[in-house]
């Protein structure tokens, strides 16, 4: 599953990392350019210094006036620097003692000064500058001659030195930058993770609170303490929605309970009327039958009202079980006998497999109601002349469960119908013509099972059998 926190952390760390790398590279490049420029400038200064040593005498002759001893870096020592002056016709004019017999030929280039990297005569990595210059006229007594000779032709001076110091500095800076970036990246990743975790704490808390809200109990509200302003509209709307849903649910519960309650008196009137007047002797069998039918209708309405009230009490959480020691086998047998007349009419028989007795701690009324509704459904919905199979089994000491199974054939029920089976008033056939059944049986079994902490499951097997199971803790 996607995680906002994880995504934020990953993206922030990646972004910070990329920015760090880019900025590190940019910084390094800048430093490299600055340092190299500085190095080149020093090299150029040296080239200029060497070039100024080449002078034109008053007679036009060129003279190089550099005392090698005053510039020991150009001597043939360890790690020397080099210079060589050339005419533009590639004739060497003067070279540094460090060059000995070697040459540093000028690089043909239109730009001057021209810097380039070089492998020095002693094999070291170096940097050279090629600088074009025109020898300056030597002053006589500190003054320019009155009739100076024509200017000397341009010449090229090449100065080279090792670049190890530059490279070392650049490498140090590169290494330091990398290390610093790494440290910043790691530190940044930790900081980002902590910050994201901290800032999403509220979201996590909200997630836990929402998760704790039960579908049939809408009393919980999301806490608005220390809520960020960005989440306030969501939380307040959510709480408002829950208020409305809770009010609607309570209205529905009250309506169901009130409706059932209000129906009691008129049904009581009908029942009393039919009980009293129905007993009067009359010459008209039709009238007697009419009163009997009216009485049956009143009794059905009474059952419906009781079922609705129990369902509404279950929804309101006021269905309270009173556990006691109950023999399930005896109870099932009694219920079976009670339903036997109806079963005989439909040609439905029972096959029962159970021990002599099985005791559980449960509410007798609710447990009996569960068994009655399940068996009643089985009798009513099994095809004519079929068999309902009832079993009571213990799952063994480890599980500690007693399972009551009611298995009946049900040709018309489909897998997609099962999701509706416990909905109040749901029935497979839309006609609602089956007498005595309101489609509340399964809903009541579910409600009672929950009240007595029994597990209620049902399924269709491949052979079109509906199998209902009630599991009681033993």
């Amino acid at each position: 599953m996607k995680s906002i926190r994880r995504e934020m952390t990953v993206w922030l760390i990646a972004t910070v990392g990329v920015l760090l790398v880019i900025s590190g590279l940019i910084l390094y490049q800048y430093v490299r350019v600055v340092l190299t420029e500085g190095f080149d400038e020093a090299l150029l200064d040296q080239a200029k210094a060497v070039s100024t040593m080449t002078m034109q005498e008053p007679d036009g002759h060129l003279e190089f006036e550099l005392n090698p001893l005053s510039t020991p870096q150009f001597l043939a020592t360890l790690k020397p620097q080099y210079y060589q002056v050339w005419t533009l016709t590639d004739v060497s004019f003067v070279r540094s003692p460090s060059l000995q017999d070697g040459d540093m030929k000028p690089i043909p280039t239109s730009t001057t000064p021209h810097f380039s990297d070089i492998r020095l005569p002693d094999g070291r990595l170096g940097r050279r500058v090629d600088l074009k210059f025109r020898p300056i006229l030597e002053l006589v007594d500190g003054k320019l001659m009155e009739n100076p000779p024509p200017p000397a032709p341009e010449m090229m001076v090449v100065v080279a030195r090792e670049r190890e110091s530059l490279d070392t500095t650049l490498a140090t800076i590169k290494g330091f930058s990398f290390l610093a970036s790494l440290l910043i990246a790691v530190g940044g990743a930790v900081a980002v993770s902590l910050i994201v975790r901290r800032t999403t704490r509220t979201l996590r808390r909200l997630g836990v609170e929402v998760d704790s809200i039960q579908p049939d109990d809408l009393k919980g509200r999301l806490s608005t303490d220390h809520l960020p302003s960005e989440l306030w509209p969501i939380v307040s709307k959510w709480n408002s929605l829950l208020d409305r849903m809770q009010a609607a649910l309570e209205r529905e519960h009250r309506f169901t309970a009130d409706a059932a309650h209000e129906l009691r008196t008129p049904v009581a009137e009908l029942r009393t009327l039919t009980d009293v007047v129905g007993n009067w002797t009359t010459e008209s069998p039709a009238i007697s039958e009419a009163f009997r039918d009216a009485r049956e209708i009143a009794i059905r309405m009474e059952k419906l009202i009781s079922a609705l009230l129990n369902l509404s009490r279950h929804e309101a959480g006021t269905l309270i079980a009173e556990p006691q020691r109950v023999d399930l086998c005896l109870m099932l047998d009694e219920v079976r006998k009670q339903l036997n007349p109806a079963a005989v009419i439909r040609g439905v028989s029972f096959q029962v497999e159970m021990p002599d007795s099985t005791f559980v701690n449960t509410d007798q009324v609710f447990a009996r109601a569960c068994l009655f509704n399940l068996l009643d459904n089985a009798v009513a919905h099994s095809p004519v002349n079929s068999q309902v199979h009832c079993t009571i089994k213990s799952l063994g000491d480890q599980e500690g469960m007693i399972v009551v199974t009611i298995d009946n054939p049900c040709g018309e029920l489909r897998e997609c119908d099962l999701v509706h089976a416990c909905e109040p008033f749901w029935r497979k056939e839309a006609a609602r013509s089956q007498s005595g059944h309101f489609g509340l049986g399964m809903a009541l079994v579910k409600a009672y099972a929950r009240a007595i902490s029994a597990r209620f499951d049902f399924r269709l097997d491949s052979g079109s059998h509906f199998i209902a199971e009630l599991r009681f803790p033993s």
Binding site: H261, R264, T265, V267, A268, E269, L270, R271, T272, L273, D275, V276, V277, N279, A298, M301, E302, I305, L309, T318, I320
Partner: protein, 225 residues
């Protein structure tokens, strides 16, 4: 036996009263709590059937007032409120029994009979007097296995005398017990009914007799002769 039915549902009151009268009870009825309270305080009843949701004065308040005034008439609460809390509240307030609407009329009459037996200290539904067996549940009177046919009024008068067997019951008490307030009494209706019962007991050769205690009333006793 005289019953007071306090119920604001007109239809329920009508048919319940009808059924109870058919069963041999004298029935007074009230449509609201105030009228019901006044009747309960004014007359002696064997049982009061009391609805809880009444206009004027609700059933529990009425019951509370009756008990505070020392009225110990058995009360059967008749109501649509079926929770344990409602039942407990009613019984704590002083009700003797509780019946949830809708109910089978047969159950109502059975509970009434149980309350009446309890009121008169009777452990069984049938009372023996000599060789006479008076079954208040079945509404029959037999003498050595043979049924003595009595009218409804005769049966109830005999049942009333049997419930107070050995004790003297005044004419006024008899009239109050077996006639409702709407009945128009003739001055000698009790005497003539007593006479009719005596005749039938003699014909059946029953070893039970209704004795006249001049100026006091009547009593049912085994015939020692």
């Amino acid at each position: 036996m005289r019953i007071l039915l306090i119920e604001d549902s007109q239809q329920l009151q009508r048919y319940a009263s009808l059924g109870l009268r058919q069963a041999g009870y004298a029935v007074d009825s009230a449509m609201d709590g105030i009228e019901g309270y006044n009747l309960a305080m004014t007359n002696e009843y064997d049982v009061i059937i009391l609805d809880l949701m009444l206009p004027g004065l609700d059933g529990l308040s009425l019951l509370d007032r009756l008990r505070q005034k020392g009225r110990d008439t058995p009360v059967l609460v008749l109501t649509a409120k079926d929770t344990v809390q409602d039942r407990v509240a009613g019984l704590k307030q002083g009700a003797d029994d509780y019946l949830i609407k809708p109910f089978a009329f047969e159950e109502l009459t059975a509970r009434l009979q149980a309350l009446i037996r309890r009121r008169y200290g009777l452990k069984r539904s049938s009372i023996e007097c000599g060789d006479l067996l008076i079954d208040s549940t079945g509404g029959t009177v037999t003498c050595r296995g043979s049924t003595i046919k009595l009218t409804r009024r005769e049966l109830h008068l005999l049942q009333y005398l049997a419930s107070s067997m050995g004790q003297i019951v005044s004419r006024a008490q008899i009239e109050e017990s077996i006639y409702d307030r709407n009945a128009t009494l003739m001055s000698n209706v009790v005497d003539s009914t007593i006479y009719a019962i005596r005749r039938k007991l003699i014909i059946a050769d029953a070893k039970a007799v209704i004795r006249t205690h001049r100026g006091l009333g009547y009593s049912l006793e085994p015939d020692s002769a």
